[in-house]
Symmetry: C2
């Protein structure tokens, strides 16, 4: 029943082998607990990255990793829950990164700049020895993350606190914003806008560039520039 984990304490203890406890309501059997479980997550990230969440099925995943469909169903009730698990891991990981990477920075503005960079750049591959391919994970988050909450069942799903890692991440960035500009009335909304817009603008700049201004500007760093401008103007 460990739902609210005190991250600040655990980060430094567990820096080497990075593993986050994910809310028990998301899975049937803890994937971290068995070798097969860990393989399911690892291969799921690869397969969703390759074929997209709509085409992803437990049958295909089982085939890919030489196990059976039914075995995967013993870990997750459906593919939606598996995606939710991956995203819980990602949100926890991002909160960890925000805490660890901002700690040595003194200037609050520089801290906020670093946050924008964290969400607009590729993920650092070697921070924490987790087994998952960070870049593919990041691509999945960009393309598939909204699908975990944009469903008819949000209310019921939300009751088990499965979005808590996202809310915690949002609250942490929100705190930083409040420190930087105590009078700003929308710190939580600006945090989620920062995260969601990072995803949508990264997606658009690759696949639907006319919905962005990427053609007029250098592609790498475009979203970073745009979001830094947006955030710091909002916090004047």
């Amino acid at each position: 029943m460990l739902i609210s984990v005190n991250f600040e304490c655990r980060y430094f203890i567990m820096d080497y082998s990075l593993s986050f406890k994910v809310n028990e309501h998301i899975y049937l059997r803890d994937p971290e607990g068995t070798e097969l479980g860990k393989q399911i997550i690892k291969h799921a990230i690869e397969l969703i990255y390759e074929i997209g969440f709509e085409h992803f099925t437990f049958k295909k995943l089982a085939l890919e990793m030489n196990t059976t469909e039914a075995s995967i169903y013993r870990y997750f009730t459906n593919k939606h829950r598996l995606l939710l698990y991956i995203l819980n891991w990602y949100w926890s990981y991002m909160e960890y990164l925000v805490v660890v990477q901002l700690e040595p920075i003194q200037d609050i503005r520089a801290k906020l700049e670093r946050v924008v960079e964290l969400f607009t750049h590729e993920l650092p591959e070697r921070v924490g020895q987790s087994d998952y391919n960070k870049n593919r994970l990041h691509q999945i988050v960009i393309s598939e993350s909204s699908k975990v909450y944009l469903v008819k069942e949000v209310k019921e799903i939300n009751e088990n606190e499965v979005f808590k890692p996202y809310k915690d991440l949002c609250a942490r960035i929100s705190d930083l914003i409040k420190t930087y500009q105590p009078n700003y009335p929308f710190p939580h909304s600006l945090s989620t806008t920062l995260i969601e817009t990072a995803h949508s603008q990264l997606f658009f700049s690759t696949y639907l560039p006319k919905l962005t201004d990427v053609q007029d500007l250098p592609k790498p760093g475009f979203v970073e520039q745009y979001l830094k401008d947006l955030v710091f103007k909002a916090l004047v």
Copy 2:
């Protein structure tokens, strides 16, 4: 093959019975051309609103409107294309609204304010006598719109210009932004951020309020306030 329709001309001619020509590549048979076709769209909006896009199937839609699955398949290859059709209609309708409702306004800042209001409020029910329930359409757009482009097949789908209405809408708001603040370097990205953030913040404020600041502020008009603040600070 009528892809680029000159909207400025058509708006006033067609003000009474509002119908937009949707890109031919989206459908197999034009739903506007037959009574059954029109019923498909109307009932699809109702059913997607009720059960959500994931649970929506052609079988259920056929049952709902007393026709057969196969008949619906003669209009659309799959439910994704049907959603794309609905969104093309919505984007064209929003561009129409932007043009018509901004025309009488003189002040450019007031025009931009009106744009934010258009995307954060319920849709005006009686502008144009279209048969579709505007509020349900708006709810669908909030919850389902990103699912039409967040798919593995974006590139191929995009080749047939099926996202043109969204790009046109974005370009029109972008022009307004450029008039208001010629030096701003991200007019397209700000336009899509405005639209996408309106959707996500409206969704979050209802279902995941902790991801927003809605608890501290009056609920109706919250997203409007937030976005007006964000947009006009960005354009200082």
